[in-house]
């Protein structure tokens, strides 16, 4: 093998790469927040409603879970684009990730609701709580604990698939790496370093999630 490694350009570009990884983290984090809120809504709709609203919610979950994330990204990018709706790369990635997260988390929430006994609601209602109070004070806090690990996994997943964003011109960590790599032709070096950065980001998320769990769930 006569390939000579050149790490210097990568090290020089490190500040830009780190800045881009903040963008990656940001878009993944915001998309998780949307994913949780929408996923919770989708799960509740599928559990408690009938008719067209339920079909729409089910279609969302089916499409998000059973089609490639890349196609979902292309839909929000080139798909909407061909109807004249041109979004910024940031918005495309944010929407696609939120769509995907919501679909996966909806199923997790659905399982979570199934795991909280119906009698918890009865006990709450017998104390005079409204249905809304029983849900927000008693059921959902227990569901959140059950889906906490799946949410963490989904957050990791969001960070990793946000790398597809470079295909719609988003300069997050992978996009930035691609940009520098093609400028310097140090493709292997750049992507090796970026892989390490992704690895560290994921480890940080898992660690933070574990710390947060200790604070949130004392029982």
């Amino acid at each position: 093998m006569d390939y000579n490694f050149h790490w210097k350009p990568v090290i020089k570009a490190l500040p830009e790469l780190l800045e881009a990884s903040l963008l990656t983290l940001q878009v993944a984090a915001i998309s998780i927040v949307f994913g949780i809120v929408i996923g919770l809504g989708l799960a509740l709709i599928r559990l408690h409603m009938t008719g067209p609203v339920k079909w729409l919610a089910s279609a969302w979950v089916e499409l998000a879970r059973n089609t490639p994330a890349l196609f979902q990204l292309f839909f929000f990018g080139f798909g909407l684009g061909s109807f004249g709706l041109h979004l910024s790369p940031y918005m495309i990635v944010l929407l696609a990730l939120s769509f995907n997260n919501a679909g996966y988390l909806a199923e997790n929430f659905r399982g979570g609701f199934g795991a909280v006994p119906e009698t918890q609601i009865r006990a709450s209602r017998s104390l005079g709580m409204t249905a809304f109070q029983a849900y927000t004070r008693i059921v959902i806090p227990q569901v959140l604990r059950i889906v906490y690990l799946p949410i963490t996994n989904q957050m990791v997943w969001a960070v990793l698939i946000s790398s597809l964003g470079m295909l719609v011109g988003f300069r997050e960590l992978s996009g930035e790496t691609q940009f520098f790599a093609s400028k310097t032709f140090r493709i292997f070096e750049y992507f090796a370093v970026t892989a390490v950065i992704y690895y560290v980001i994921v480890k940080l998320i898992l660690g933070a999630s574990r710390l947060l769990a200790v604070r949130l769930f004392r029982y």
């Binding site: 009698t119 006990a123 017998s126 104390l127 005079g128 409204t130 109070q133 227990q142 604990r145 029982y219």
Partner: protein
């Protein structure tokens, strides 16, 4: 006073309660006995509207429980309920379990709600467990927690749905003692129970249910001493 008139309840085609008429006076302790599936637990759920009814009426202090305009959430504050599966809220401490409803349902401020909660927990003998989580408690303790939680709403009536049936035998006594204590304090109680000893000693009257019909109701000495209905005689010979 609770007045039940010609109460009918169906689960689909199943006729669970077949025309129940029953008055429970303030301060009375009524035990309801009968085989599983006789409709006695369903009766309780119809009193606080956790189940809808198909015919008849239930009045609590003159308010029609199942009428359209009735605010059921306000009404339930006056009807404490204790379940067979004690249903503690696992994500809240013992104190929070009891203080939550006074705060968010009765609208008391946090300090006052905690004060009431603490009082009731001391009342049922859990004064030393305030900051524990329910999963760290025994079944008997969790059931006493459930009693304290219901009492913190300061209800006029307490409904007990087989409060000791899911407990290990050695834990039944402490829960019955707590129920006995409430009875002595003059709480109006309807206790669906399989504890014949409790029914005999504590109740003012005992009602016997058989297949959705209240076949007999009388003071315990009479009901246990001289059962009239054939079903009751059979039932008593089996549980003794």
């Amino acid at each position: 006073m609770i007045e039940i008139r010609d109460l009918h309840k169906y689960f689909g085609a199943l006729h669970v309660l077949k025309g129940i008429n029953l008055d429970v006076e303030k301060g009375e302790v009524l035990s309801v006995i009968g085989a599983s599936g006789s409709g006695k637990s369903t009766l309780l759920y119809c009193i606080n509207a956790l189940e809808a009814i198909q015919q008849g009426s239930v009045l609590v202090d003159g308010t029609d429980v199942h009428a359209k305009g009735t605010n059921i959430n306000t009404l339930r504050q006056n009807l404490g309920m204790v379940f067979q599966q004690w249903n503690s809220f696992p994500h809240l401490t013992v104190l929070e379990n009891v203080a939550l409803a006074p705060r968010i349902v009765r609208g008391l401020d946090k300090a006052r709600a905690r004060e009431i909660a603490e009082q009731q927990l001391v009342h049922v003998g859990l004064g030393d467990k305030l900051n524990n989580y329910p999963l760290a408690l025994s079944g008997g303790q969790q059931q006493r927690l459930a009693i304290a939680r219901a009492l913190a709403m300061e209800p006029s009536y307490m409904l007990f749905d087989e409060a000791t049936s899911a407990l290990d035998p050695e834990l039944v006594g402490e829960v019955l003692d707590t129920m006995r204590l409430l009875a002595e304090e003059g709480m109006t109680m309807i206790c669906v129970t399989h504890e014949m000893g409790f029914a005999r000693e504590v109740s003012d009257r005992v009602a016997f249910f058989h297949q959705g019909i209240m076949e007999e109701i009388s003071p315990p000495e009479e009901l246990f001493g001289a059962p009239k209905s054939e079903h009751l005689q059979k039932f008593l010979s089996k549980v003794k």
